[in-house]
Subunit: 556 residues, 2 copies
């Protein structure tokens, strides 16, 4: 009998996996029995992972980003101690949950030491994010660190190309900004191959599961971020979102997230799937264990005036005055987008939000915008316009296989791209649809009772909680904000409770997809999974939406 | 012998021309001998056209927009009287110079009457542009008025389509904004077929020549605007600019113009050539007989918050504080873009600006950005990406011929569009080039001596003054601002003086195009033509650039 020779990409992936693990200091390598124990449990967040840490490490890693910065600046903790605690917890998270692509703890510890020295020598902090450990989705380039974006084919290359002199040598503009603000970067988190998936699966690390309920996916595409935040290995992370990619994993993992409008933060020198497709843009997004962290983070980044360096960033400074809200707000609610009915826990989550708003004296009206189905169709056409040309170009480098979840979109190799006149027509369709949506939003001033149009729309993030692997059928709830280039904030609301969240006896499916999604619900499997909702705002509405979300958190 | 039967498009064009002339009140129809006299002269602006008007009509039509509004609001003039004066002068301008596509004087006079009644009844003005007559390039839709954009094929249609219910029934967002501000709309001005020409020629009206020197073109594509402003038939007009289309005619006709960044003003529901091409965007631009008019106009339009209605407009209100300039400025100068050498009058014009700046104590440094040739190549590829699909679709409606000036770009019918992956790659090329340009701009802080990067770049608008018909070879000087999406202001500097502006004996051409352009110079023909320069600013730099331009006007 002959042994099957592994493919080259399998060798490369295996070597890369081992190299990443080897970057974890030996004293942080977990014993086999702990890893086995973790694998046998449904939930490994909270007390499970914290049992592996000292009380002080727990204390440091269980506070929010703004408090962390405050304590470093008040010299209660050193940046080095904080960095070590986060690196350690992230190292454990990765061993238990497989959520990291890149580990650069030693660079982080060195940077933290420099920050400590700076504070000691000058009595001043190095910026508004002084000492804050920040995790990054593996699309961001950090000097001296690799970026694979979930492609084995990208190992040892710069975005698939060799010998450009750019390998390990490029830094995303946002990364430069974060460093200039005093942030400490220490790891890059996992994402799915192609980035166009609400789960996190690639040929490099396999899958990242949901640490709150390991039967479920952590979501995607900024999935590793969601998992790491849920495990306490980070308080704030940077992801991207073209179809829900920060809101989905945040919601699935029970943390907060904002998808700003594209054009507010810099995407410059960030690796991406099909980066030249600029009709529907992927936006930089932020995920965190708290809303104040998102607020501080965005304000800090904009203080660097990214629009002076990135042609796509618009000159809108952070506007704190937009965080002042009138006493009475008017929310709209969209319980069903007319394409896919949310599972019982999601319907209940939306209901909780609506009731909370009403109890506080806010108005809640129905949301009946131009059909989301139209918007979602335009979104899909734009993202598929290149016929998979970019994806297959990357896969071809090492002949690595497409992940099964992307078969429907890209299976069978590249197809003929859309003709340019048709593609250009989609740019117009997107514009017209968005204008109609804005007109509808403006028109709500007639019935809100506040003298203003609707303040925000309450809606599901997905038709389900953290998805059962291979059961993500409908992205419409998140895609719409990307198509419109609106701001959206995802907040956790509750968790699935199998004793409450039972399916009703009767269900009238809207279509085949709706039926598939409905059948995929399983109260036993979903039990305990986080349930989030999103708050949809208008374009460049980040300040306003953060404060609206904060209002909700107060109400809940 | 048989008579040649005219083509259908010729009939349609003839009928349309006559219908337009028929909209001029009979008492404003000029006698044949005046038209003949005009045709025999080089210059018909100033005293020539003014001889046809009363002193009071001259007084009303020779002041600037802000003064005009002030006088109406102070009841020195009624809006009706003002409107009548501008309609009359525009009617004369059209008969002498062929600069209008659409005449809707009666609507204007009705609107003016309503404004007068409003002021009389309420004691208040209806907005910051109360009573200001505003002319529009024939890309803007005005309810009840046709839009042909220079296509005979569009007569009786909505952008080439019949039976949509949209014919004569759509209003551009900007038009709605202008009306809401109290502006009075009265005519739409001529533009070339395809809009991609620095002259104004189409099958509907033939050519619009330069009223300052009728041997030359008025420029394009907002050519009718330039001519009408030079003839005093308007104080402010709205055009568009994707390759220089407001700056070129302004400069050729001796008036002021600003090309704001795309995204500052609304292009929504404005007809356009190949409107789905969104890599290099056509921007709304303004042209006027004065700079303060442009300032007031832009501030007024932004007070309507166009970003609430147009998905492409960015939420940046007018920022008057950016008009405060430090005492010492640093200008850069680009005398030659390395592709095409400016004719002697233009070189002299740039020199006058540089000397004026130096005399006032400002710094002037050399401008050595990433080669403009690279940017211009990207610009051309994007504008040509659809293979002429859109242009030929319109021409095919009535089988009207392509104008000869566009033969090089579109001749021979539509060609294969660029493949989508290549087109998407150009989106990235544009971004990277722009980022490099911004980096260069930022880097100038090192040598300006002001502690700031360069404030603005002094450069030619074109390598020649108002062009001799069929001799426009190089658009690089204007295209670069569109590619970069930067702000640029064109200001008049001097006029061609054949006794001074002689070609030197020796000329080393940079390339064939350069040689062709150089050979096209003829001091006798160009004598008396306006010479303008442009001031290039950064993105969304409108407030700053207006004040920089005002500083120049003071110096000159």
């Amino acid at each position: 009998m002959r042994t099957q020779v592994p493919h080259r990409w399998e060798w490369v992936a295996d070597k890369k996996r081992k190299a990443t693990l080897a970057k974890i200091p030996v004293e942080w390598i977990l014993p086999e029995h702990v890893i086995k124990d973790a694998a046998s449990r449904r939930k490994i967040t909270g007390s499970f992972i914290e049992a592996l840490l000292s009380d002080r490490e727990c204390a440091i890693t269980n506070i929010t980003s703004p408090v962390l910065i405050e304590r470093i600046c008040e010299r209660q903790y050193t940046s080095t101690e904080v960095t070590l605690a986060y690196c350690k917890r992230a190292a454990f998270a990765h061993q238990l949950n497989n959520c990291l692509h890149e580990i650069f703890f030693s660079d982080a510890i060195k940077a933290a030491g420099e920050l400590d020295a700076y504070l000691a020598n000058t009595g001043e902090t190095s910026g508004p994010l002084h000492g804050l450990p920040v995790s990054l989705k593996d699309q961001f380039h950090v000097k001296d660190v690799e970026t694979t974006m979930g492609y084995v084919s990208w190992v040892g290359t710069f975005e698939g190309e060799k010998g450009t002199g750019q390998e390990f040598n490029v830094e995303s503009q946002l990364v430069e900004e974060l460093k200039s603000l005093g942030a400490v970067l220490y790891c890059k988190t996992s994402c799915p191959q192609t980035l166009l998936l609400g789960e996190t699966v690639n040929n490099l690390i396999g899958s990242t599961m949901n640490p709150v309920n390991q039967l479920l996916s952590c979501g995607g595409s900024s999935g590793g971020e969601g998992a790491l935040l849920a495990l306490g290995g980070s308080t704030i992370g940077v992801g991207t979102d073209i179809g829900g990619s920060v809101r989905i994993p945040a919601s699935f993992c029970g943390v907060y997230s904002i998808k700003p409008s594209f054009g507010r933060f810099s995407y410059r020198k960030v690796a991406n799937n099909d980066p030249g497709q600029t009709i529907v843009n992927s936006a930089i997004g932020f995920m965190s264990t708290s809303l104040p962290a998102l607020d501080l983070f965005m304000e800090s980044i904009l203080s660097t005036k990214p629009w002076l360096r990135d042609p796509d960033v618009v000159e809108i400074p952070w506007r704190p005055h937009l965080k002042q809200q009138p006493k009475k707000l008017c929310f709209a609610v969209m319980r069903n987008d007319g394409m896919c009915t949310p599972h019982p826990p999601i319907a209940r989550g939306v209901g909780i939000a609506v009731e909370a708003a009403k109890r506080a004296g806010h108005e809640v009206v129905d949301w009946q915008p131009p059909p989301h189905s139209e918007g979602v169709a335009i979104h899909g056409a734009c993202l598929g316009a290149d016929g998979g040309h970019d994806v297959w170009k990357q896969l071809a480098i090492l002949h690595e296989p497409l992940i099964p979840q992307m078969e429907e979109m890209y299976g069978g190799g590249p197809t003929d791209p859309m003709p340019v006149p048709e593609y250009q027509d989609y740019a117009l369709k997107r514009l017209r649809y968005t204008a109609r949506y804005m007109e509808y939003w403006n028109s709500t001033v007639e019935f809100t009772g506040t003298g203003r149009p609707v303040d925000a729309v309450i809606m599901p993030v997905a038709p389900h909680a953290a998805v059962i692997p291979n059961r993500y059928f409908h992205y419409g709830y998140t895609e719409i904000a990307d198509l419109l280039n609106f701001t959206a904030v995802a907040i956790p609301i509750t968790t699935v409770d199998k004793s409450v969240d039972q399916t009703p006896d009767k269900f009238e499916p809207l279509n085949d997809e709706d039926l598939k999604n409905w059948k995929a619900y399983d109260a036993d499997i979903y039990d305990g999974a986080p349930v989030g909702i999103q708050l949809l705002g208008r374009r460049f509405d980040e300040e306003h939406m953060i404060s609206i979300a904060e209002e909700f958190v107060k109400l809940l």
